[in-house]
Symmetry: C2
Subunit: 323 residues, 2 copies
């Protein structure tokens, strides 16, 4: 009996990690509503119970699980890779955008808008096998550093969101990434960094083809865009790859509007979470006017739709994981 | 001690189901090599051990998990649905193929080859929501009967393959369908019939879009083909949706050649299984000359590639499940 009391006292003591699945979240409304939702859908006695195979949680990546300023990290990778490729063969720089990008002048490079951006992505992301491409992403992640924080990109992930992913998985959820980022780019780190395996990573994709080269069967990354996993593309991709309507959705920008709308319109309990970048000191502060991660329409409709806005500054004890 | 002996005697007695994971397979080489492979890759002490998260098994559907004669069952569904739709609105029959199909004259309907076939699929598979489409497949499966066997289509599945799927899952494999069949068509029954959930069904797909209709967000099936999951499309789809090279592949036709080739060319232990339709009495006998499920190139190369050919007549005790 004394042992039992000792055990209980130990478990209930402050700082006992297992008692709090979200230790990096402040005790505000956002945290309380996440826990309330998860407890309801996992309690067989609750009217809101959802069987484990239907506990699908989807998360945007850029700005939701890791940072996206001053530009999407994949674009910074593309520029670095382009520069490296151009050193070996300058003739690949067939446009002014590509030349500017390889010279490190991103302002000029991106002046051409979406077309210029796709040009840079295409030139740096095709003409090699998926395996070779993923190896090159891995090398870049190991060596490149963010221009203002000086951190490795894969350490600019959000500790509170890592805890949320783990918490959901511990409670029987399958956690997916559904992001505008490239599928092979994200798979190069998603399992190590987020614990999300390749089959649960959904993203944009270039064309690809099956080829046997010198007797070696492989998947090649080809020029041309196969699918853009953004806006209305997100629910379409979820239907195509998961075939179930998620009950938990996390996003941070208007690119997540349709995914939030479709998922939370389903019957039964649903949770929509929006990461609002409000912390200029520890990360960045931006929303309606931002070129990267614009959050405008989603912010307007969050209240009416019952989506929970996470105020990074107020709701998170820490942003990036301790080193 | 006596109890232990009793227990052992019971377990080892012939007919003790748990002792044999593949009771509907005759004790031939095919069965032995499946079991030998599975035991090797799941034994941590074996040099061929594969960790559970990499135990990916993929199976074609038509002719591998269920029958495909006299025509792919999905095409028979398309014709039935077209006839029903034309009764309500004959103006949808905009071509001779469609008119012939709705009149039940399949020979004329399909004389136009692949174009006619896609025409029939398109007319019957678009212009409605995914939910409505899947409900219509479900109703058809409940009521329609196969023209020669008189059986429900969903009972023309292969009992030995059901056992193989269960065996692999029991041993930590994830079992996927990778088939030329339509993704939403297969999802309408794959979980009930094969125990394969929607997120593990990969197939061909028409275009689809996200739409909010009368305030209801939904995924609509649109005209046009988005992806054909056949031949070289199969490894591309596996890379896109799973992101891992399977270690176990089951197929039955030349449409599975590239998937077999790519998967079994990977490092470490790999298993390629080919269902050879040799049983005209219990099912059908066809291979090199068949319009449906042609098995020619795969048969030629099976030996050299180390793929195991399952002779339906010789290797299977039963074909369809007992009622």
């Amino acid at each position: 009996m004394r042992l039992l009391w000792l055990f209980l006292a130990f478990c209930l003591a402050p700082g006992w990690a297992l008692a709090d699945p979200l230790p990096s979240w402040n005790g505000t409304e956002a945290k309380a509503s996440i826990i309330e939702f998860v407890e309801a859908v996992t309690d067989p006695a609750s009217g809101d119970y959802v069987k484990a195979s239907d506990r699908i949680a989807v998360f945007d990546n850029d700005g939701t699980l890791w940072s996206e300023q001053p530009l999407y990290f994949q674009l910074l990778f593309a520029v670095d890779r382009l520069r490296e490729m151009a050193e070996a063969d300058p003739s690949i720089l067939t446009s002014d955008s590509l030349k500017a990008a390889a010279a490190g002048d991103l302002k000029t490079a991106l002046a051409g808008g979406e077309e210029a951006l796709l040009d840079i992505i295409m030139a740096s992301h095709s003409g090699l096998s998926v395996d070779a491409y993923m190896a090159s992403v891995g090398e870049w992640l190991d060596s490149a550093r963010h221009p203002t924080t000086g951190l490795a990109y894969s350490s600019m992930i959000y500790q509170p969101m890592l805890e949320l992913l783990s918490y959901l998985r511990d409670e029987g959820f399958a956690t997916y990434i559904v992001s505008g980022g490239g599928i092979h780019f994200m798979r190069a780190f998603a399992e190590d960094v987020y614990g999300i395996p390749p089959e649960q990573v959904i993203g944009s994709a270039g064309n690809s083809s099956y080829q046997v080269i010198n007797g070696v069967p492989q998947i090649m990354k080809d020029p041309g865009i196969a699918f853009i996993d953004d806006k209305a593309g997100k629910p379409v991709a979820i239907d195509s790859k998961i075939g179930k309507r998620p009950i938990f959705v996390g996003g941070n920008s208007d690119g997540d509007f349709e995914m939030l709308e479709w998922s939370t319109a389903g019957e039964g309990p649903r949770f929509g979470l929006i990461v609002h970048h409000t912390d200029a000191e520890r990360e960045w502060a931006y929303d309606r006017e931002s070129h990267v991660g614009m959050l405008d329409k989603v912010l307007d409709q969050a209240d009416a739709k019952g989506w929970i806005i996470v105020d990074m500054k107020k709701d998170w004890k820490t942003v990036f994981p301790a080193k």
